[in-house]
């Protein structure tokens, strides 16, 4: 465990020493503030469009941060040969997989806290409404979803050698699920038989990341989600990530380290 946390510490240090996170945060803040400074029909109480835009940017930034950080971890270890002194120590490849996952997950969790804090301040100053429990839910669900995204990207990074293609594929896949995952069963029902079962299979196999997208509940000031449902969703993400990490380890276990 010590080894895993030590490895994750390096990942976290890497994230906040690189520009990516700051660039995305500043971009998000800038766009939000610019949009917020527009006066729509002299009504300062209008807030939801701003929440919508800000949350959209946060979601995109978080996805980009999670996938870019994760996609380069293992390839960079191999390319820079840092994997050799590492594995020459009592570190197994499972440690590497778990440490990288934990590091990326914690790092993106930290990024989420910063982003959502900004969001809370922006929307709170607009409509002086501070639904802290709801914010806690959205952050936790978002974070749980990123666990799946990160383990997926990690798996991609040991299968595909180029980080950029892995990143692109993962982003497209995740965006695809977020936008269409919910509707695949409907699509399936409209298809003739062999295709229908196939789509249904895909529907059951893909991680249902769209559950975790509860932005609307925040924007439209809906009531809290049951905490038991949040816990179930967390469990689902946990189990799913576990499977993906297992797959990552299986793929990485026997892989030659030389490029």
């Amino acid at each position: 465990m010590n080894i895993v946390t030590a490895l994750s510490g390096v990942v976290i240090k890497e994230l906040y020493r690189r520009k990516d996170f700051y660039v995305l945060f500043i971009l998000t803040a800038l766009i939000t503030l610019v949009m917020g400074s527009i006066s729509f029909f002299n009504d300062a109480r209008i807030a939801r469009y701003l929440k919508e835009i800000c949350l959209m940017l946060i979601w995109i930034s978080a996805l980009v941060i999670a996938t870019t950080t994760t996609a380069r971890q293992i390839p960079a270890e191999r390319e820079n040969r840092t994997i050799f002194p590492l594995l020459a120590k009592p570190v197994t490849r499972w440690h590497v997989v778990a440490g990288k996952f934990l590091g990326c997950w914690l790092a993106s969790g930290m990024a989420l806290v910063v982003f959502y804090f900004f969001f809370a301040v922006v929307s709170g100053t607009r409509d002086s409404h501070w639904p802290l429990l709801q914010y806690a839910q959205i952050v936790l669900l978002h974070w749980a979803m990123l666990a799946v995204v990160i383990s997926l990207t990690l798996l991609g990074s040991v299968i595909l050698s180029a980080p950029s293609s892995n990143m692109t594929i993962c982003l497209v896949f995740v965006l695809g699920i977020l936008l269409l995952g919910r509707h695949l069963n409907q699509v399936a029902l409209e298809q003739p038989e062999p295709i229908r079962s196939l789509i249904y299979l895909v529907y059951y196999v893909i991680p249902h990341l769209e559950w975790y997208d509860v932005r609307d509940l925040i924007i439209y000031e809906h009531k809290l989600i049951a905490w038991s449902d949040c816990a179930l969703a967390g469990l689902y993400a946990f189990v799913y990530s576990g499977f993906l990490l297992m797959g990552t380890w299986l793929a990485f276990r026997r892989k030659p380290l030389h490029l």
Binding site: I3, E14, N80, P85, L86, A88, P90
Partner: protein
Amino acid sequence: MEPILETNGLRVEYRVQNGQGPKVAVRDLNLAVYPGEVFGFLGPNGAGKTTTMNVLLGFVIATGGSARLFGVDVREPIARQRIGYLPELTYYYKFLTVEELLRFYARVFGLSRDEADRRIDGLLKLVELEHARKRPIKTYSKGMQQRVGLAQALINNPDLLILDEPTSGLDPLGRMKVREIIQRLKREGKTVFFSSHELGEVETVCDRVAIINEGELKVVGRVSELVESHQANLEQIFLSMIGYKPEPVV
């Protein structure tokens, strides 16, 4: 006495894409290194030195034969608890400072904070990087990076050191320092297994040497005994072992 490092009939093949059979990098290698020795592993470029070390560290899985460290198969992570390794070509996490890097490796070995602090101070003094301890590694020169490698290899106070060309890329002073460090480790009772092309340095620091060529062990023995039995210096022995015939002088 039990050997601390041992290979038996070790064979390593690399798959190559050119359609021919696999490339044999190491064939039927039997080595035994005993505690307290400084063992020089010699051979021309491409002889299979790095490959052998990669097997010892579990990076490459042997096609045949076996390799053991401290009597434990090299595939067990526990075999690596008491070794220090300096890779041939390495870059460390460039965004970390040397201090952070060493602290990270110390945590991997499960050292306590105080213990780690003490070791880090000592090692940075040893490799003369104290002045740069707060600088990210990406700002280091080549020689400095090589010394970072040496420091990380020593972080766990290992009993066995596996050094792949520890002096390459260093200036004469730096090489001298490395030699001194190796000698000091020997005095402390450590075992050092290292590869090198610098025959002069091998002659001065090694108890025993092995020379391999094209993956095959050519000769192994005490430096002094080899010199005596061949009636030649180490360089001449090396050259004859790898099949070099001097051009006849016209």
